[in-house]
Amino acid sequence: MEIQMKRGLLDVCVLASIKNEDSYGYQIIKDISPYVEISESTLYPILRRLESGSLLTVRSAEHNGRLRKYYHITEQGLARIDAFKDEWKEIMMIYEYVTREEKKDE
């Protein structure tokens, strides 16, 4: 996949993984990795980028006697997911057109 495209997709994947409830780094990786390949060193810049764009907020909470960072989605984060879905509706329509035309060819 094209790098630029994958980056955008990963952003949305991370947002989606914290959409319903707050999550932490390792859980996010476990949730996403069946669908997209992601590693710690990929996730970290993404989380930072999303945080500085205020698409998510971070809080530290205690867990087993140590601190763990939990990520919480913001309104803007939710809006980003919606924007992604709208964009992909268009792309799916193009996809359908392409496959339909190909079938006609056969």
Binding site: Y24, G25, Y26, Q27, I29, S39, E40, S41, T42, Y44, P45, L47, R48, N64, R66, L67, R68, K69
Partner: protein, 248 residues
């Protein structure tokens, strides 16, 4: 490698990073390792899964802007002694031109970098326009009643337009390679800022030992960068050969 060792070597190879930045990054990776261990991995496995020092430090570093690193470096310098200030003032006619020259040099290098890429595309554009022009003139010549010259021109035009296509692909390849190389060079420069720092008064000897380790890491990275550049050049050369074959 266990967790403490990984954290230690990351800290060493990124010592020039702003303290807060560094701690934040290290906390993240530490948390990851601890979560993996809680999930049933052994410490070694967890550390290995998170990635190696070079990979992680490169990722952290490419996220911090170069001006920020320079600022940090300047900030960390201890206050100047009186004689240093005097020397600085006296030496102004010497170091100021050098500073300007360096700044201009960096700017020029940056400019050359982009000009190289643009010039490649310009050559391709010349192929295309030259070809189209020839075809136009060919039609004109045929209309004017010199069909021989017209046909020759027409053929030449087609060849030029045809050549512009593989050359365009070559341009893309070249631009991609240049951008990748540029990124690697910037990362290398960042390591120069981060790997070393002025000795502070505390524990000078210990510092020096650490310094040596940091230097090794920097060298290693520079070497990696050098190999990457070489590979890039090799790919480009290969591509050029292919294109040469097409022309022949």
């Amino acid at each position: 490698m266990n967790k403490a060792e990984l954290m230690d070597s990351l800290r060493k190879s990124l010592r020039g990073l702003p303290e807060e930045e560094l701690n934040k990054s290290l906390d993240f990776y530490e948390e990851m390792i601890e979560d993996r261990m809680e999930d049933g991995m052994s410490e070694d496995e967890a550390v290995a899964a998170v990635g190696d020092v070079k990979d992680i430090s490169a990722k952290i570093l490419s996220d911090v802007s170069l001006p920020k690193l320079v600022k940090e470096k300047v900030k960390r310098r201890r206050g100047m002694k009186a004689w240093e200030i005097v020397l600085l003032a006296i030496g102004f006619p010497i170091w100021f031109p050098i500073l300007i020259t360096m700044a201009v040099l960096i700017f020029v290098l940056y400019l050359v970098f982009w000009c190289l890429i643009v010039s490649f595309y310009c050559v391709d554009l010349a192929f295309l326009l030259g070809g189209l022009g020839s075809i136009g003139f060919a039609i004109f010549a045929i209309v004017q009643g010199i069909p021989n010259a017209g046909i020759v021109l027409f053929g030449a035009g087609l060849i030029l337009v045809g050549l512009s296509i593989p050359f365009f692909m070559l341009c893309n390849l070249f631009a991609k390679g240049m951008l990748k190389t540029g990124k690697a060079i910037i990362l290398g420069i960042k390591y120069l800022f981060v790997g070393k720092r002025e000795e502070e008064n505390e524990e000078e000897i210990k510092e020096e030992v650490k310094e040596a380790t940091a230097e090794n890491v920097t060298e290693e990275v520079m070497e990696a960068v050098a190999t990457e550049v070489q590979e890039e050049v090799a790919t480009d050369a290969a591509a050029e050969e292919t294109a040469g074959g097409v022309m022949a």
